[in-house]
């Protein structure tokens, strides 16, 4: 299975479809943490985020033959998680607890790391106060490091709208963070 580490997502998916379904674990392994963080940022509940990600992986597996390998698998799986998360968020609309252990990775010194964590915590707090409409593209851009095109593919909005929402999100963040 280690040979598959070098392959792209799309190549692994092709092999899952045509050769060995067990290779799906390679895909799940690659995306589980990213998607957990993404879903967690959206619904702010670890257990539900975990359920959403599991269900999304199952849904993706069932519909794997419908995925076009010429497109990015990453955008496709994020889109599924986005849809599942929105469904769950609509179901449980009440306020949910703030997450405190979705980490930002860093190779810098302890002091810098501490400062970064402190900043990250502040950013997360501010992020939770802005509407999902703006927080989601901002999260995808800065935390998940997606391009405008990928964000457009995930959220089904044009790239211009992505840029506008990120720009507005930054203004909102600034206002909210300064207030806090």
């Amino acid at each position: 299975m280690s040979d598959y580490e070098k392959l792209s997502d799309e190549e692994v998916v092709e092999d899952v479809r045509s050769k060995d379904q067990e290779l799906y674990s390679v895909i799940v392994e690659r995306y589980q943490n990213k998607l957990l963080r993404y879903a967690g940022n959206l619904i702010k509940d670890e257990d539900r985020a975990s359920d959403v990600v599991q269900d999304s992986f199952i849904k993706a597996f069932i519909n794997l033959n419908g995925f076009d390998t010429k497109k990015k698998f990453s955008s496709w799986i994020y889109r599924i998680v986005h849809n599942e998360t929105i469904n769950i968020a609509k179901k449980y609309q009440k306020e949910l607890p703030i997450l405190d252990d979705f980490d930002f990775q860093s190779d810098e010194s302890i002091e810098d790391n501490f400062k970064q964590k402190e900043t990250a915590a502040k950013v997360k707090k501010c992020l939770q106060e802005i509407p999902l409409l703006y927080s989601e593209p901002l999260t995808l851009f800065y935390i998940d490091e997606k391009s405008y095109k990928e964000i457009g593919d995930i959220l089904r909005i044009p790239m211009g709208t992505v840029a506008t929402r990120i720009s507005r999100a930054k203004i909102l963040m600034k206002k909210i963070c300064q207030k806090n």
């Binding site: 799940v28 392994e29 589980q32 957990l36 670890e46 975990s50 599991q54 519909n63 252990d101 044009p158």
Partner: protein
Amino acid sequence: MSKELKNITKVVMDRIHHDKIKMHSKAYFVVGSFLAFIGLVASMITSVFLVGLIRFSLRTHGPMGEYRLDQMISSFPWWMVASAILGLVIGIWLLRRYDFSYKINFKVIVVGFVVAIIVAGWIIDMTGLNDILFRQGPGQGIMRQYFQENNIQPGQGRGEWKNNLKYK
């Protein structure tokens, strides 16, 4: 983050094995896409012909004459309008499901879709294609019933406005 949360791979693979979850076949997606496409085309064609029928109905009753207005309203085939709207709604709904739709402003797609149907309906009506199809094609039964119910002679109304303008 707990260990259980981190180890989603095992949970997912166990669920796939235990519940014997299977992938949908490629044929499933091919048939699905084909049916969606057929539905889209069918709803567009239906809407185009219904727009043609509405234009035809307006022409035979005279849309401006006040004394004819009540008659037009009472005998106007409102089911056609309802069907045209339904066709449009289904068509737009199908369009939204396609990947390309989000890359263009959705308002542009909707306006373009409606304009395309009205223009196509108008062209088909002007060229007389709908008359040919209704007299010889699959719609001849509906058309005959419509003529009988409304006491209309076939061909009545075509070019009426042009003739009125010519003799003024």
